[in-house]
Amino acid sequence: MKQTLTLLTGLLLIAMPATAEETTGLTEDMIKIGVMAPFSGNAASYSKAEIGLMAYYDKINDEGGVNGRKLVAVQEDTACDPAKGLAAAKKLIFQDEVFMLHGNSCSGVALAIRPVIEEAGLPWVIAHAASDSISDPLAANIFHGLPTGSANGRAMAQFVLSRPDTKRVAIIEHSNDWAHSYSDPARAYLKEQGIEPVADQTMERGQTDATAQILTLREAKPDFIIAALYEAETAIFLRDLKKYGMSDIPVMGTAGTDLENTLIRVGDLETVKNYFVIHSYIDSLNGDKLKPWGDMITKYYPDEQLSTFSFASLGSAVAVVEALKNAGRDLTRSGFIAEMEKIDNLDTGILSDPMTFTHDDHQGVKGSAVAGFVDGEPTVLRAWGERY
């Protein structure tokens, strides 16, 4: 009888939804926040984004915290690997019992962990991964605190077509969700404008040579190339473009790369002079408007080398702190979610576009600027030849 009862209890526990309690991860003086990022692996440089948001927590803590509570980041490494990401998410939710999740670079990981987090019900504010599918279809507890792939993809295609006489557009991309989250909306926008890509090429992660793709592109004679590639492959692609005498063709990259570090990686300005990237901020990396944010990060992480990724999560961090403040001292998860949904036209002081959430739309940022080299200097642009 006792064994039967134990078995039934066990089955009941398994059958129950694995929802998190309303107030786990909260004490009188702290809020425990799970921060997932690829702290290792070949996409590890993206974890700079989460370093940025943790520096912002430190700043808020130094100013007294939020309603008397300090923000405590519990870090977990995803290595940009869905299996590791899933393990990290489960550990944070069920073992560390954090109040909420904030962060995560790598859309592939974010998509893999979404069902677990949606079921658990704790708030998750996405700080860096851009794929639309993470927050669409809508999940009550998941918020996208940066421009999503569709916003970025459209911005990429709009910028490409803002260049006079651009008719022939080619696309090169990875075959993963992250790349498609940029290229699919870009394709959709091009199609709306009556343009079909003249070439579609794939370059997988880890490839050290882009000759086959570039020779195919050369035959297609594009006016502009859209490249949804990670950092290392972007550098290899741009280097190989130059090798084969095609560096005069402009290339539009994603928010997954930045100008300054791409320049360092390829080694010379000539190779990147026609490279443009989605740049969701109000200023360039070394610009005056980003300087206070950069100073804040290096104050708390003195060894951190700043790149544009370092700022990627700060807009969402501002929104998180705003919602936590507004939720008051009697903080609950549902209270926090309700306050997130009240954020309207928030000027984060760092993102180029404002942030708005509603009950029916959790993708908060709808547009993005672009950055490119103008007279050898990284410059934020609204359109071809038009400064931000």
Binding site: N42, A44, E204, T208, D209, A212
Partner: protein, 289 residues
Amino acid sequence: MFLQLSISGLSQGAIYALVALSLTVVYRSTTIVNFGHGDFVMAGAFVSYVLTVMLGIAFLPAALLSVIALFLLGLCFSRGLIRPIRGGPHIGFALMCIAVGFVMRGIARIVWGREVLPMPSVFDMPPIFIGNLIITGDAVFIIGTTAVLLVIFFAVLALTDIGKMVQAVYQSQRGAQLIGINVDRFNDITWGVGAALGAVGGILIAPVSLLHPDIGASFLLKGFAAMTLGGFGSLHGAVIGALMLGVAEQYAGAYINSALIDITAYLVIVIVLLVRPHGLFGRKAVVKV
């Protein structure tokens, strides 16, 4: 386009050749497949990076020092970690190789973790244009260096007593011991040579691609595919298999679909194992019952 793809494929294949050859060298003398070899390739590239970029040593002496360092690392690996587990289950060797590979990768991650590092171009000559054909300095450097190394390697094997010793150990370790060859020491040196050859591959590819702790993983797979195609245990088979793989990737990527580049190595392994399990130049396995 065909010629351009061929040159690019040979350049990539040359790197694969060094990796496959170094795997084969170890496999022939010890029958151990070094599943951690990709990380020796990575380690060679990182040692070279430290010497050239961080310490400012010129490329050639830095490359030489890196190769020596990896030779010693391979030798110590054999002496300290492989010899003590001899006599145990064969899978123990594979697990040891994997474990040490991950330890090396972990160390690199601790030191350089979140950065993708650029390595200065070694052979920064302007490309040579022959009609539509473009021959880049990197391709010249990689193919040339690999060709010279392979000539030296095979000349040593064919023309010296060392080559006879290699052949003797490959045919029968017990027989080799009977004629006075110190097989243990020979195996240690073989591990050293394998690691050093892998390091050359890493040093050559680092300026072309970028450097990060996971760079070796894909080269390990390419090395396996080349070994499979050329025939397990065949030294010249490993080289020819690697060159064919490099070229096949380029042709498949350009003429069929660029997504095929990344899976060509897997396809090669599957097809060869099904159609010709001993590869192009390998020996058919004969089991006596």
